[in-house]
Symmetry: C2
Subunit: 330 residues, 2 copies
Amino acid sequence: MTGGSVRVTIDDVARAAGVSRQTVSRAMNDKGDISEATRRRVLATIEELDYRPSAFARGMRTQRAGTVALVLPDIANPFFPAVARGVFDAAAARGLSVVVHNTDADAGAEAEAGRAIVDAGAAGAIGFFEALDDAALAALGRRIPLVVADRPAPDGAVATVRTDFRAGTRLACGHLSSRGHARLGMLDGAVQNKPERRRAFLEVLGAAGQPDPADHVVAGPPTVAGGAAALRHLLARHPGVTGVFAFNDLLAIGAVQALRAAGRRAGEQIAVVGYDDITMAALLDPPLTTVHTDKYELGRTLVEVLAHRLDGHPAEHRTLAPRLVIRGSA
Amino acid sequence: MTGGSVRVTIDDVARAAGVSRQTVSRAMNDKGDISEATRRRVLATIEELDYRPSAFARGMRTQRAGTVALVLPDIANPFFPAVARGVFDAAAARGLSVVVHNTDADAGAEAEAGRAIVDAGAAGAIGFFEALDDAALAALGRRIPLVVADRPAPDGAVATVRTDFRAGTRLACGHLSSRGHARLGMLDGAVQNKPERRRAFLEVLGAAGQPDPADHVVAGPPTVAGGAAALRHLLARHPGVTGVFAFNDLLAIGAVQALRAAGRRAGEQIAVVGYDDITMAALLDPPLTTVHTDKYELGRTLVEVLAHRLDGHPAEHRTLAPRLVIRGSA
DNA sequence: ATGAAAGCGCTAACAA
DNA sequence: TTGTTAGCGCTTTCAT
């Protein structure tokens, strides 16, 4: 009780416990070569003095902070908060803090985020990179343990967690076909490095014998406004389309709205299937039929895979299975 | 080009520029006592070697990282991503990284977040604290520059940014009255430390002469499900209520759904006004009449106020004005 | 205007 | 099993 608000250091603990500071370090970091009795005593002293190790000093030695980075294009896009929630919970459970970098899917911002992450000495990074190329991603993966989401691995050292887009797309298109829609169109998000959904769509349509599938894809920004515009373009070009598959729910919602504005109703004259199953999807009228991906689980898994990597395991590659949720719009 | 991936340190720069390392430090930190010529030369060398100062080493000296913390109850609640977006953008513009702590409005989690923030040596913190009491908040504010959102200042050292709930509530209730709704009820969020909306509601109703206003408030968790349940309770207790004001849009949406399930339609038999104007509000059917608060601007302002504090200015207190957005539900 | 010395708090390597 | 020695890269005195 000598007062003052000076920091309690490892030396204070060592002195109070009657050991060297190395022993304190061993006790708190669960290193071996320490007797159980000493360990207990030191831990008790730490508790008593309310000692908190300096993250800076520790980082200086280890070159690794207790922090992981989360890179995403736009936290305001409803898909990402759900994922982020899973990331936060899983990270907190492991005593890791999460630094979020918002990039707007801009290549410069993604690169800058990578630099900031490395400079900050983050223990690892989780990223939804949409603009950076594989070479840049591989380079980042060499400087720091990295897990990329929803994208093929650019490199053996980079782990991945993906949702099975092909399966999801087949689910969506299969459903539309089974409901009797012979002519399908796709509203694609103008998102680089994400060709899977479009490819799967073309594949399914090709197999089903629909003529000229590629001409039935319209790309636009993956937003509500983008979806409305894309739907108008699609129908202007191909008035016979009655089944619409959207890259994500935001686009699908825009499509439903554009239909309503044109006096048509999704689920009746024309069917719309979204992707992601964001919270909003179930609350709309008509509620949106969509491919559900477990976003919270995706976030959790990203952290789990990163944690394995931090523990020295090789890069894993996991895939999450989507499922179709049939509601009113298709 | 001697190779290796060893870190470029301040000494490397000093050597290359032919100066001492404090001169390098002076140059990069814009301290005085350095000739313009030297400064330029050092900066050029820094550029050339792609030198990035170690955050750890710097933090060790200064006890301050280039990181700010953002504490919020639930990133998956649509209000917060919109605010977070403003925080991220404003922080990035100032070269600050943002560490996000999700608390679920739990007192233990909020306290733990505070501890983690201090331990990490964050430069400052921005928080939506819903469970922590004023004493704990004031204590945190003494250890680190702190800005609290949507809550009265617990202490002279703590800055605040708030939306004017009283004004918003008056707007909402005034609108309901002007539409001829004589009997109003409120769906309150069961959120500690947020009595303003309820208080303003009681005040307005008291002034308008409605009997027993307090009995017309039903509290529940601020979610869609909570809103549906609260609405059923409210109408069971007071079947004569025709105007409903909700603590937030999630509650309001739940209320609209409960009405639909009961064969009634918001905006016709009964009016519902929400609060926040989350993205979803405009997309629903009927679209939600709600009190709009500029969430992005709130985030931006929180960072601005924190930045002023970091620059040594006294704690500020700002208020953002809400406005009513009239749509179909009321 | 510049440089030399000191030390922030911790952990890795080695010695005892 | 424990302690000692060194030093991570930076900024802050203080001297020049």
